[in-house]
Symmetry: C2
DNA sequence: ATTTGCGCTGGAGTGCACTCCACCTCCTAC
DNA sequence: GTAGGAGGTGGAGTGCACTCCAGCGCAAAT
């Protein structure tokens, strides 16, 4: 070991830039008990060892995928003992399942949007519009498409 | 036409059940200008023609994929004229791109969670735990894993 | 015709996740 | 030593998207 006592003094600012979380959010997460591994310098400043930073990344994943802060805290505060291992794993598996659902939903939604786009292109091509996409009032518009009562549409 | 004057009297309750949006949310969306095609019965009750319902589904997609209500309104209130066609299409394309990003992000996040799960299984197998997943205090736990200063970890 | 209840409206209230603020301390540069 | 700025704390404030409510009218059932 040449100089292995390198204390890597990673402060809150660095972590903020590293993670994209604001300074306030980092401090708030910590108060809320989401960030256990953060240490303090002599003068009371936050120091983030590598493990803390990795932990923050996990918390970000959980939050980003829609887990409420309260639930993240529950997860975080589970003990490290083996009794909790099952619970932790179960929770992670739930999250994985939730993420998969979200992905599936987004694929559906994406398909809908794409379909609308195609529909629009098609309509534009032939200079029409359709009740599906007309909006409320078009004050500046020349009222190009005041639909009368055309109500014989197919389906979705 | 045998009896084609069927007015399909679809009320707010039916739409609520159909879409999963609450009664309040449906009314609120309408006040906010997100739902243009809703009509009223003689006595002032909301009536949702098929086009309105389809429109609601589109709004749901936009909201679900993270578009703020204000932006949905902007989209909705674009005129139906051709001048707006480009804007509408552009907006939808932006949304499609945003959804793709979200899917990509979720795939990443899913990978992280899966990795953690595997890691957990591995640790459990050998009866260990690691600083990555220890939490704060485990009051009822027998304090099974009080890490001393083990700080020589690999990466991620 | 009366009861029962659904639906309407405007406005107030809620929950969540931050974000801002004032005031203080500590550290760094000069 | 002193000035300036980063960082710390507790608490208040904000923005968003609903959600709840009181008071009223219309409707369907009896």
């Amino acid at each position: 070991m040449t100089d292995s006592t390198g204390p890597d003094p990673v402060g809150i600012r660095a972590v903020s830039e590293l993670t994209g979380l604001s300074l306030d959010t980092l401090r708030w997460y910590e108060r809320e008990g989401l960030l256990p591994l953060v240490e303090r310098s002599d003068g009371g400043q936050r120091r983030y060892p590598p493990a803390a930073i990795r932990f923050i990344r996990l918390v970000q994943v959980l939050r980003r995928t829609g887990m409420p802060v309260d639930d993240v805290r529950d997860f975080v505060q589970m003990g490290s003992g083996l009794e909790w291992h099952g619970a932790r794993t179960a929770l992670l598996e739930q999250r994985a399942a939730a993420i998969e659902e979200q992905i599936a939903q987004l694929h559906q939604d994406l398909a809908v949007v794409r379909e609308k786009i195609a529909h629009h292109r098609d309509l534009q091509q032939r200079g029409l519009d359709c009740e599906d996409e007309i909006a409320a009032a078009a004050p500046h518009s020349g009222g190009a498409g005041q639909r009368p009562e055309t109500n014989g549409d197919g389906h979705a």
